[in-house]
Each structure stands twice: as C-alpha cells, then as structure tokens.
C-alpha cells in the first residue's frame, strides 16, 4: 500500500488500461445504471409533486427526524 502510494503518479501512468477493458467497463456501467433507471418507480414521487403544485404541502421540507 505504501509502495503503491509512493509511486502513485507512476502507477497512474502505467495503469492506462486496455481500451477493450475500458469499453467493457463502460458498457457494464451503462447497463447497470439503465437497470436502476428503468426499475419500477413508486407513485409517491409523482404524487408528491402533484401535491406540491396544488399547494398541499408545506414549503418547508420536513424535518429529518420525522422520517426516522
């Protein structure tokens, strides 16, 4: 760990990874994130914005301790 740290700049230069590896990581990251974006969305967020727009929620965000 210490040795790695001493040669950090050097290591970062040397560590320029294989472009194919980076591409694979990029794709996996996008796929992972897409699965999160596409996950079923609870209704409560849309409901919240509708209530905010209708003036049915106090403008002051709820206190943290109210949420536990």
């Amino acid at each position: 760990m210490n040795a790695t740290r001493t040669n950090k700049a050097e290591a970062e230069d040397a560590a320029a990874p294989d472009p194919k590896a980076l591409e694979a990581i990029g794709r996996a990251l996008e796929a992972h994130y897409a699965s999160l974006v596409q996950a079923p969305l609870p209704d409560k967020f849309v409901d919240l914005l509708a209530r905010l727009e209708g003036g049915q929620v106090s403008k002051t965000p709820g206190r943290r301790d109210a949420l536990g």
Binding site: E12, P17, L22, L41, F45, L48
Partner: protein
C-alpha cells in the same frame, strides 16, 4: 410558486435522480427517502436554479448534500436490504463484449464512495466533468483523477488486465451469454 414547467422538468428527472441515489447509498429504501427530500428541497428553492444550466446536476447536488449530511451513517446498516442489486438483470446481447453484470456490481461496491460516485456521474448519468465537479464540490482535476483510479480499480477487480493474456477481455466476457 414554481411553474408547471418546472414541475414537469422535475418529473422528467426523477428516474435518474433515484438511480444516482441508489448508486450513492447502496439502498433502494434510503434512495427513496433521499429522492423525496430532494424533491421537496428543490421545489422550495426553485428560484435558486439557474435556467440554462443542468437541472440534473442541480438535483444531484441537492441529493448528495442531503446524503452526506444526514444519511451516510445509516446507509451501511441497511445497504441493499431490499435486494435490488441482487436481482439478475439481462443485458441486451447485441455486442460481443459484456461483462457479467453481477460481477460488475460487486466490484462497484468495493470502490471507495468518492470514486463510485464520479464513475456514475460521468460514465452513466451523462454529466460533464465540469458538472460532476460542481456536484462533488471538487476541482476538475480531482474528478479526472478519481475517474481514472475508479476505472483502473475495476479493471483490476474484474481481472481485465491480465498481462499474461493477449486478449483478457474476450476471455473474460465470453462466458456471458
């Protein structure tokens, strides 16, 4: 009172905001609390948003601030208790090189949080280096260095840079159908 169009713009960002929150906290239930609180805060501070700048980056900044001030301690306790990460998701098999997503997720959780968030912001959420720097409240140089360290670490964790092999990536990815 924020305009109706501001509300529509918020609506359009909810899914991305939630995805970022899940990446950040590692928990869907915490992420939902974070999104809820962020939307409230965004609504009541809408006049602080500068039109023409990225609403996504602005919302991410709000959510990240809430997370680091109030939630970070809680997140390790309940991390992934709801199992969304554990669910196996199929990746469209359009190209030859796909990593096993489950391996990838495990490797992501091993990154330091500051590297994981930068990787997510730039590699997945579509933020620019400049926007990511604003969200994370560091300089662009720090963003770039975290990003390259995150990528190098993933390459290492996923054993994609095996010097003994000519084509480590092909070998690694072919087992995914």
């Amino acid at each position: 009172m924020p305009s109706a169009s501001f509300k529509d713009e918020l609506l359009a960002e909810i899914r991305n905001l939630r995805a970022f929150a899940i990446s950040l906290s590692g928990s869907v239930s915490l992420a939902d609390d974070l999104v809820q609180e962020s939307l409230l805060r965004a609504w009541s501070n809408s006049e602080k948003f500068q039109p023409g700048t990225s609403l996504r980056a602005w919302l991410f900044t709000i959510l990240r601030n809430i997370y680091y001030s109030n939630y970070r301690k809680r997140s390790r306790e309940v991390q992934d208790s709801d199992g969304l990460y554990a669910r196996r998701l199929t990746v469209p098999g359009d190209q030859e090189s796909h990593l096993d997503l489950e391996d990838f997720r495990k490797a992501m959780t091993k990154l330091p949080a500051e590297q994981r968030e930068v990787l997510t912001l730039i590699g997945a959420s579509g933020l620019s280096y400049e926007e990511a720097a604003v969200v994370c409240q560091v300089g662009i140089g720090t963003i770039k260095s975290r990003l390259s360290r995150a990528r190098a670490k993933l390459v290492e964790l996923l054993e994609l840079n095996d010097a003994a092999s000519d084509s480590p990536v092909e070998r690694k990815v072919q087992r995914v159908g």
